[in-house]
């Protein structure tokens, strides 16, 4: 009996920790569900477990990149760094769910459990090295997401969001599998490295079969990151789901999808081939469309959550633009963008969630005159909106600058121009909320309970990286630059 495949299990501690945490939380939840007071222990356990996972990932950083479990999983600094970012986003969403009124009190613990389950799927997707783990990662992410989107059981909008998510998800997973099956048929293996070796030696007939197969393959992953034309679910799901769930969806599935896409792009299309030309062309078109559609549709929205949904579509497009630059500069830019995106998204959704809890809806008008009541929070929101637009000296500017720089280095001028123009368009709707907060007279003088001292502190702490990453970005940039992909 050979147990060689268990030799590297030490590199897999973060995932094992998360799984133990999820099972333990299910046991705790069934025991303490009835008791109001004991429920906070579940939250404390979850946060401790997530911090422990973060520490385990940190210990994994800088180690030798290797493929473990018979080449099924890759542990490299790229995936580890993105996993750390996903854990940060999960901690943020879990803390938000603790005090949000959008999730029923009795279901808050279930939210935590499902969030950790989705995180496991995200980890699997971020380090998948064959089609089976890739598919399992996507399905673990998706199936739990459907339940999570319809978490507000008695709300029509929430169950409709879950329904739409499930239908779109099922369709795109089916399309992806059909594409995968033909890739497997032509190339003869499900291992990514085996596919990469075969790609340069294909005959024209095989390429003719593979082109539509890769297109179908992209459907599954494009749906997870909400890129055009698979983005239709995104605004509906983001609007219908409870706000903590939306926060979570905007971070973990999206980053996991980007990580998976970066990996398959870098592995399959490292060498010049007709397939590479086709794939890069597809990515350029999809990236430009995703940015433009997201930004243009965001302009007319009345609900801030829906606006943020469209803005997150356009951010996915920008990350796709960095992805077509298949060298270290491009991957570094994408990783840095992902890090800044998490903090900006968390702050924006925290403030929207607290305002929405107070008034019951999240129209732009609910923000009018916020600066007179909560000047500090309004300033934080303004900072984040400036950063999302990409104004210096904030983090969003550096992130966008790096993407554009990598595009220009590789002579993708047209996409760089599209990205620049899109930043101008996005300024309109990001600054609209700033204008409403500052210039419109306030509707009433009520206090918003969510903006207690503790929550204000949490929001400020999350905004600090948005400032500091814009100024002291070189350190993080060098981390991201060292986070190389493992390619055999």
């Amino acid at each position: 009996m050979h147990l060689n495949y268990l030799a590297n299990i030490g590199r897999y501690i973060p995932e094992i920790l998360l799984t133990i945490l999820m099972v333990g939380l299910i046991l705790l939840e069934t025991t303490y569900k009835e008791d109001e007071k004991n429920r906070r222990y579940i939250f404390i356990t979850a946060i401790i477990g997530l911090v422990a996972t973060f520490a385990a990932l940190l210990a994994n950083m800088g180690g030798k990149a290797e493929a473990i479990f018979s080449n099924a999983i890759v542990i490299d600094d790229f995936s580890t760094l993105l996993k750390m970012v996903m854990v940060l986003g999960t901690i943020g969403a879990v803390y938000l769910s603790r005090f949000s009124r959008d999730v029923y009190e009795s279901l808050k613990t279930e939210f935590v459990i499902m969030a950790i389950g989705i995180l496991i799927g995200g980890f699997l997707l971020a380090s998948a090295n064959n089609m089976l783990t890739f598919y399992l990662g996507i399905e673990t992410l998706s199936i739990l997401s459907y339940v999570m989107a319809s978490l507000k059981k008695n709300d029509e909008r929430s169950s409709e969001a879950g329904l739409k998510y499930a239908l779109y998800g099922g369709i795109s997973a089916g399309l992806m599998l059909f594409g995968m099956s033909h890739i497997f048929g032509v190339i003869g293996t499900i291992q990514f490295t085996g596919i990469a070796k075969m790609v340069p030696t294909l005959s024209p007939v095989q390429i003719a079969i593979l082109m539509p197969s890769f297109l179908l393959f992209f459907a599954g992953i494009g749906y997870k990151i909400a890129s055009v034309p698979f983005h239709m679910w995104s605004p509906d799901v983001y609007e219908g789901s409870p706000t903590p769930v939306t926060t979570f969806f905007a971070i973990v599935p999206k980053l996991a999808g980007i990580a998976g896409l970066v990996r398959i792009t870098a592995i399959f299309f490292a060498v010049d081939s007709p397939l590479k030309i086709g794939w890069v062309g597809l990515m350029i078109v999809i990236s430009a469309l995703t940015m433009t559609v997201g930004n243009v549709t965001a302009i007319g929205q009345k609900s801030v959550k829906r606006m943020l949904a469209y803005s997150s579509i356009s951010h996915a497009g920008i990350m796709l633009a960095g992805l077509i630059v298949m060298n270290n500069v491009g991957i570094r830019a994408v990783v840095f963008y992902a890090i800044t995106y998490v903090f900006m998204t968390l702050v924006a959704f925290y403030i929207v969630s607290i305002v929405q809890d107070k008034y019951g809806n999240d129209n732009f008008d609910r923000f009018s005159g916020l600066i007179y009541r909560y000047p500090f929070m309004a300033v934080m929101m303004t900072v984040v909106m400036f950063s999302l637009t990409g104004l210096p000296p904030l983090a969003g500017f550096v992130a966008k600058y790096n993407i554009i720089q990598s595009l220009i280095n590789t002579r993708n001028y047209s996409l760089a121009v599209v990205l620049g123009l899109n930043s101008v368009v996005s300024a309109y709707y990001y600054l609209k909320i700033v204008r409403i907060m500052v210039l419109k007279p306030q509707e009433n003088n009520e206090t918003i309970e969510g903006f207690g001292f503790l929550n204000q502190m949490v929001i400020v702490v999350m905004t600090i990286p948005v400032f500091t990453l814009g100024i002291f970005w070189e350190t993080v940039m060098s981390w991201a630059g060292n986070a190389k992909l493992f390619i055999q």
Binding site: Y146, S159, L163, K164, L167, I171, S181, G185
Partner: protein, 101 residues
């Protein structure tokens, strides 16, 4: 003996049927059935390619996992449909339109 082409033809027909069902039918249960058809088409593809093209077990394992996840997915999907039906008393896809504006 049945050739590879026959298997691929059947699975392609299943795939097209699934797509047609999802486009043409307005009943949510029927759409879930269409998804199942597509998943079965790809499982059939994996099994057939393993038998005819290469002898290793990777394709069979993929097919098994597809069956498992398809079951999980339809269980969750049906659960959500039941909840939707209880709230809206309809399983028509056009009734799921409160979120559009």
């Amino acid at each position: 003996m049945i050739s590879l082409g026959a298997y691929l033809g059947i699975s392609f027909i299943l795939f097209i049927c699934g797509i047609m069902v999802m486009i043409a039918r307005k009943n949510i249960i029927a759409i879930l059935l269409g998804i199942e058809l597509i998943l079965n088409a790809s499982a059939l593809n994996f099994a057939a390619y393993t038998k005819f093209v290469n002898g290793n077990l990777e394709g069979h394992i993929m097919a098994l996992f597809i069956i498992i996840t398809a079951a999980a997915e339809s269980a969750v999907g049906l659960g959500i449909v039941i909840r939707f039906f209880q709230l809206r008393e309809s399983i028509h896809i056009d009734d799921a339109s409160t979120l559009q504006n």
